[in-house]
Symmetry: C2
Subunit: 257 residues, 2 copies
Amino acid sequence: MKKPLILISNDDSIHAGGIKALVEVAKEIGEVIVVAPAAPQSAQSHAITISAPLRLKKSDVFEGVEAYTVNGTPVDCIKLANYVVLKDRKPDIVLSGINHGSNASINILYSGTMAAAMEGSLENINSIGFSLLDYSLSANFEPCKPFVKTIIEQVLEHGIEHSSLLNVNIPNLPTDEIKGIRICRQAVGLWKESFVEKEDPFGKPYYWLTGEFLMEDDGEDSDMHALNEGYISVVPSMHDLTAYKTIEWMRGNISWK
Amino acid sequence: MKKPLILISNDDSIHAGGIKALVEVAKEIGEVIVVAPAAPQSAQSHAITISAPLRLKKSDVFEGVEAYTVNGTPVDCIKLANYVVLKDRKPDIVLSGINHGSNASINILYSGTMAAAMEGSLENINSIGFSLLDYSLSANFEPCKPFVKTIIEQVLEHGIEHSSLLNVNIPNLPTDEIKGIRICRQAVGLWKESFVEKEDPFGKPYYWLTGEFLMEDDGEDSDMHALNEGYISVVPSMHDLTAYKTIEWMRGNISWK
């Protein structure tokens, strides 16, 4: 059987521990190609670089794996990978991460890791974004590796019906304390921001964004609930943002005269 | 009756013609506060600035309107507006745009204009992103003003059920050639990229992103179809990206053993 072609990116840069772990797992499954940001790109969401040129550089960060860095965003990486590096070859799967920190709930909207996966899914390639609930640079990705491998293998074998994107979040626990994998919906939540206001050396004020994530959802089928209980959450996601229920309501209730 | 409080941002910067037109329309309806990027932020999507301080500067660009610039992304602007400028006041509506260029179909994912509106909707404020199908800096926003006003007024009067976000795209036509307003779903489409490859003065290659939008949708209920027929498209949108159909399928078809 031909080995699957696996395209990998992330948003924490090619030098992060999370992408190293993901490459190690993927190498056991298929042929791996990495195209990842040269520098960290957290919270870049689905940003793309249109007002500056992009550089694509060969990297020997991963032994025995074809790898490149890009001086751009995660979405830039996937676009360059598909249209320049791979050209006529199409990946069997796009993997992004493993992110240092959660992308559960609405964090999918801010996340560069999930945007890279979504860009794969926009190209009709099954795509998975992985995130570990540990923001530290020295996060330990070893315990989650067996689960990451299982999820990739299942998607390669069965595909993803009615969607082509999974948002996978992993509790920061030893392997034998991870209770299993749950299919979930995205929890309702909100970042309650508080800006730190300070003065620069010239007496002028500046603001630094900080915030606290508020859960506004007590449903037992949400990703946040699964994670809190020690399960890995898998949220099948999509890029059609249409609120279909609202279409019906608007047609019945709004007049444009 | 108390005048509604209207928060306005965009991604083309406070100096763009589109936001000027939107402010002019909004001033006729309510009290307007503008917090917009100091410099263009197109294609910034839902990016936020976390690794640098933000500056908030008073601006007198709009006569008689309280306005500020931010050295960050559209989403930064909405966060600073809500948590620093307005603090305990909550806008009755968030408006973003009018964007110079289309945000129909999947362009909602890349758009800074739509991300600003979505950030408003994440704060449970009804929010509308407006875009005119003319990318030029000198685009003429006069013809669409009556329609923009009607849409804002309708949302202020009726709200938006089951959602809090509208993606409004406007054909680049004279007022009397715009056929009306249609409630639509987001069209399925794809950016087929082609990177221009060149050499810098030092002989090193670089890539510049360019692309062509491909429609992959012949449904008559899509935003692209409405626009092609000369209608304004209104797509009610949401920030729950869960693919619910896939949840059912995965539970029945995937085993994690």
